[in-house]
Each structure stands twice: as C-alpha cells, then as structure tokens.
C-alpha cells in the first residue's frame, strides 16, 4: 500500500515538474472541451491549427535570430498554473491607482484572466465594448469573428500560436463607422497572486470602423510578487480614415513577465498609433507589427523604456508598407541602468508598389551604468525607388557638459541627471494625446528616475 502511494506521489511530482510546453500540450484537450460551445464559428479550427503549430515548434529559443537577445528559458522554468480559477475579488479602492481614474472611461477588467463585471464598465450601446468570450459564443457576432479573428495575428510565431490555441477571453471592442468614442477605454489585466505561479493568455480583438475614433489604454498589473507570465495577443483593425490611439502601460512587478504580440491592420487614410511605456516587469517582449492596406496611411510607433536591476525590455517592431503615399514614424527612447538589457529590432519593409513612402525610425538609448546593455538593430528592406526612409540609432551616456550646466545653477547631481533623462525621453512623451495620461506617465518617469522635481513637469 505504502509503496503504491509513494509511486503515485512520484508520478504526481513528475507531472507537476513537467516542462511548460508538455503541460500546455496535455492541457489543450481539456481546454478545448471547456470551450466546446463555440462550434458555430471557425474558432475551433483556428485553435487546433495554432495548437499543432505550437506543438511542432515549441517556445522560441536563443537559436532563433528574432529571440537571440531575449532568453525565455528562465521564465519558462516555473511551474505555472495554466488554468486560472475564478473568484478572487478585488476592492476598487485597492486597485484604483492602476486606473486612469481622473477621467471618465470604459473599463474591461480581468482578474487572473477571468472577467470582473464588478470592476468593469462595458457597453453595447452604439458600439460593443465587452468580452471576447461573449463574442466567440454568441451567434450574432459570428460574422465579425469569422471576418477578423486571427486574420492578422502571426501564423509563424509559435508564441502567438500558443495564445491562439488557448484564446478564450480578453477585450472585444467593435466600433461601427462614423463613431467617436467619447471617452478612453481601459483594458486592465490584474493577477492577484492567489496562484503561486500563473500563466495568462489574454486575447484582444479591436475593430474600428470607417471614420471612427477610439483611444485605448492597456495595462497588465500583478498585485503581489508571485510569478506571472502573460502571453498576450491583440489584433487591431483600423478602417478607412479611422483614428486609433493605443497606449500600453508596462509598469508591472519585477516578478511579472510579459510577451505582448500586437498586430495592426490599417485601411486607407487611417492613422494608428501605438505608444508603449515600459518601466517595470522582469522580462517584457513587445512584438508590434503594422500592415498597411491602402494609400495615405500613417502608422506611429512610440516607446519609452526606463529600466534597471536585471530587467529586460525587447521592442521588436515591423512596419509593412504595401501601398503608395503612406507614412510611418517610429521613435523609441531607452534608459538603462544597473544590469538591465534593452533590445530594439525595427524592421521596415517598403514593397515595390509603395512609392512615395515616408518611413522614419529613431532609436536613442542611454546606458547609465557599465553593466547595462542595449542590442539595437534597424532593418530596412526597401524595394521601391522613390521613397524617403531614414533611421537613426544612438547609444550614449549623459552629457557631462549638460550635467555641469544644471549643477552650476544649484541643481544637485541626482536631480540634474533626472532632468536630463526626462528631457531625453520628452519627445516620445509629447505623443500622448490624453493629457491626464501624459501627467501620469510623467510622474511615473520622475518616480522611476527617483526624484521629486518640485514641479509637475
């Protein structure tokens, strides 16, 4: 009897210690059963195909050129719970500070991957600001889901396939044509730490119709120092002349890692902007891809990264210019202290058809400490001959003369350094169109730089 039990225990232990990939693979069947009511749409097929792709390819490793500087191994070794349980309640007052609460907004909030109706403020009046799970289930959304879901997310990136295979819940935002959404939409994912190690795979679908305008703020926030790995996929569709402003606030605990995969498809004359602010977290990987599907499109990619300790932030961007007379503006600023690591990989493809393209890319970095590293790689692939493309990449330290200037005016060294770093990041900060958010980010930067500057910058 005793022996049998111990063998059982051993087997259980082995199962628990199973590699994350194996665990996900063995979990897939159970997952599919739990969401089997979705048979009306193509989603079942999509998940199965994605699952097969992940099963064949597994997690990317450092051997993969695109993941050379961003080792996933250390964050995959944890024994993640991949099926979060529902039911952890959070009081609004305890998490208020994570919301842009100064202004009115719609809110789609998840706790440990499960929708929280209590913290959310959704709507179906005039437009849908709700849950992907509902959209995947209800027949009235079938046409939209079949038309958009997983159409632009990568089929080649195994980590995206993994998310697709397990896609179930996230934000669903569908704005019909000629609509200006009067207040920003906040999409917030909390993890409570009720699981010691938790893996989350949110999936967002955002469709913005012709002439419509929407502002979205996305945040992933862990409430304890338990280990969290989030593998998020967002698909954004900007219709003709639509304006989409998207802000990502990445200021999570040092035990939380995030792989964010965001795919943007734009129709003619649309303007889509994604602003990424990476201050926190353990490992943060942003895959951000823009696909232009018409003329006179503008794509804006802005980022500010300020990290220290052993944090890593990797911004991998792609802008694909397919049609003439389009623009892309890319500006990434990075400040790296201690032993932190930055990665910037900016790929711009200008296809042969895409004459008169204006594509600008700027990546500026400051290394504060000797132990900090930045790996920067601009990649321009230009097949059209009448284009204006530029890229600039700088890596530097704080300017001694500038520092002396500020100190000679009585500003102590630490504050002087912070002011210069703030000035360095400033042009990317100016792209924020929600003024309360700009103030918030400015304060976050001041806090991150460790100074009270005595005035609101």
């Amino acid at each position: 009897m005793v022996k049998v039990e111990s063998r059982e225990e051993k087997r259980k232990k082995n199962r628990d210690k199973m590699e994350l990939k194996e665990k996900l693979i063995t979990s897939f069947l159970a997952f599919e059963n739990s969401v089997s009511t979705d048979t009306e749409t193509n989603v079942h097929d999509i998940r199965s195909k994605a699952f097969t792709h992940f099963e064949q390819n597994g997690f990317p490793t450092k051997k993969d050129e695109e993941w050379k500087y961003t080792p996933l191994k250390p964050i995959l070794k944890h024994d993640y719970n991949v099926f979060p349980k529902a039911g952890t309640a959070i009081e609004f007052k305890d998490v208020k500070r994570y919301f842009l609460h100064e202004i009115e907004s719609y809110k789609i909030v998840f706790i440990d991957g499960v929708y929280s109706s209590f913290l959310s403020d959704t709507t179906h009046e005039g437009y849908d600001i709700c849950l992907l799970s509902a959209a995947l289930k209800k027949p009235k959304y079938k046409m939209v889901i079949d038309h958009y879901f997983n159409t632009i997310a990568s089929k080649k990136e195994s980590i995206t396939s993994l998310n697709t295979a397990f896609s179930k819940e996230g934000a669903y935002i569908n704005i019909p044509k000629n609509t200006v959404v009067p207040k920003p939409i906040q999409v917030v994912y909390f993890s409570t730490g009720s699981e010691a190690q938790l893996m989350l795979q949110p999936r967002n679908l955002i469709i913005v119709g012709e002439n419509s305008h929407v502002q979205i703020v996305e945040r992933h926030q862990s409430l304890t120092s338990n280990v969290v790995l989030t593998n998020s996929v967002t698909e954004i569709f900007a219709g003709t002349r639509a304006i989409v402003d998207y802000y990502k606030i990445q200021n999570d605990q040092k035990t939380a890692s995030l792989i964010d995969n965001t795919y943007v498809q734009q129709q003619r004359q649309s303007v889509a902007s994604v602003n990424t602010f990476s201050f926190g977290g353990n490992l943060t990987r942003n895959n951000l891809e823009f696909y232009q599907e018409g003329e006179h499109i503008t794509s804006n990619l802005n980022g500010i990264t300020i990290i220290g300790d052993k944090q890593l932030v990797d911004n991998h961007t792609l802008v694909n210019h397919k049609y003439p007379n389009c623009e892309s503006h890319e500006l990434y600023k990075g400040i790296y202290a201690d032993k932190s690591t930055g990665v910037f990989n900016g790929k711009v493809i200008v296809e042969q058809e895409a004459q008169k393209t204006n594509a600008f890319q700027q990546n500026n970095n400051i290394l504060i400490d000797d132990g900090a590293t930045i790996n920067a790689k601009p990649q321009l692939e230009i097949f059209a001959d009448d284009v204006k493309c530029s890229h600039g990449c700088t890596i530097g330290q704080l300017d001694e003369d500038a520092l002396f200037y500020l100190r000679s005016r009585g500003i102590p060294k630490k504050e002087a350094e912070a002011l210069l770093l703030y000035a360095f990041a400033n042009d990317a900060l100016q792209k924020i169109k929600i003024s309360e958010l700009k103030t918030r980010i400015t304060r976050l930067i001041a806090k991150k730089l460790g100074v009270d500057l005595g005035f609101d910058l």
Binding site: F404, S408, G410
Partner: protein, 245 residues
Amino acid sequence: MLEIKNLHAKVEDKDILKGINLNIKAGEVHAIMGPNGSGKSTLSSVIAGKEEYEVTDGEILLDNEDLDDLAPEERAHKGIFMSFQYPVEIPGVTVTNFIKTAINETRKANGKDELPAKDMLKKIRETAQLLEIDRKFLSRSLNEGFSGGEKKRNEIFQMAMLEPKLAILDETDSGLDIDALKVVANGVNKLKSKDNAVVIITHYQRLLDYIVPDFVHVLNDGKIVKSGGKELAHELEAKGYDWLK
C-alpha cells in the same frame, strides 16, 4: 570676496592655468581678456567647479572658504554663478520651471523654505520685464530652439533670478547684436550692487563699453600678464594682444 592664489589647473594632463593670482572685492567689476586658448574659459569653469579640470596647485577662496572640495551645485549655493557660452537645451522643462527648481534647490541648501509661488511669479515677472523678455518665452522649453541672442538673454535672466554674489559672464557678448547687447548690459548694470561682484570674460572690448569694468586683466598662456583700469581694454582693442606676449 574671491581670492585666487597661485592657481594651477590642468585638463587631461594638459596644463592650462599656470599660476593665476586675482583678488576680487564686493562691488567690483573685473574684465578678463585674452586671446583664444589663453585659459579664460578654463578659469571660469574651474571657479564654477567643473570636474574635468584638476586643480594641481594654489587655491580659490570665496569669503575665505576654500572651494576645492565643493561640487558645482554647492558653489552655486554659496553664490557663484557662471553664464555659459553654450547653454544646454532641456526639452520639456520650461524656463519658468527650470528657474523655480534652481532657486528652490539653492534655498533648500541654505536652510530656507521654498519661495512661495506668488513671490516666485512676481520675481519672474519683474526680472523678465527688466530684461525685456516676452512672457511667452518663459513657457518655452529651456534653450530649445532659442537663437544665440535668446540663449544669452536667458542666461542673464537666470543670473538675475538667482542673485549671485559672484557672477561670471563667459563670452556673453558673442552672438549678440547691438540691441541685445545693450539689454543684457543694462540688466547686469541694474543688478550690480556694493554686495556683489561681476567678472566679465571676453575676447573683445565691445561689451565693456556698456558694462564698465573697474579692473581689466589680460590672460595669456595661463597667466595674468597685465592688469590695469578700463583704459587697458581700449589699448588692447587698438593694439591687439601680441604686444603683451
């Protein structure tokens, strides 16, 4: 007020100052002139505490206190101000916010409370008026996109706001047209008092027509080779520097 005794300084193993002696009393205006490379700007940077410069011998005393161990900001807190030839651009920080920070950091270091916002605004307004500075200018980012003249005027504005004991104006006249030069000089003259001193570092005599010095010193190869009254400046203008070498 400021005593410089046998000052030797080097940067990257290159000796630049080779024994400077200078005594500046409250209420005085001194001009330091000299050809390019004579060590004028080094002297002002050393007084202000720039760390790349190493003092190898001699000392600088402000009110009998040796400045040697003091950081640039500590010197500023004790009342030393240096206007820069090439002020730095600080995007996102307005002229007003910058000067507020500088003043309040200085007050904090001297054990004083922050200047109340009302008093600060009043002082900013009055100083701006004195220097004929437009109000819109004050809400621009510090030095960002400023013309040469605007940068210099902004330096004098900061000087006027900080009310230093010892103001060193390093090549403040370069890049200024005659009208701007007059405004700047007028500002400096109004701020001059029996309690403070001004050191004007310049290549040309032009500014000295408007800010009349009590003493003129000629610097050459890291040493003061001649000192005299204001007439020395005119002599230099007429004869050049070669006769002193």
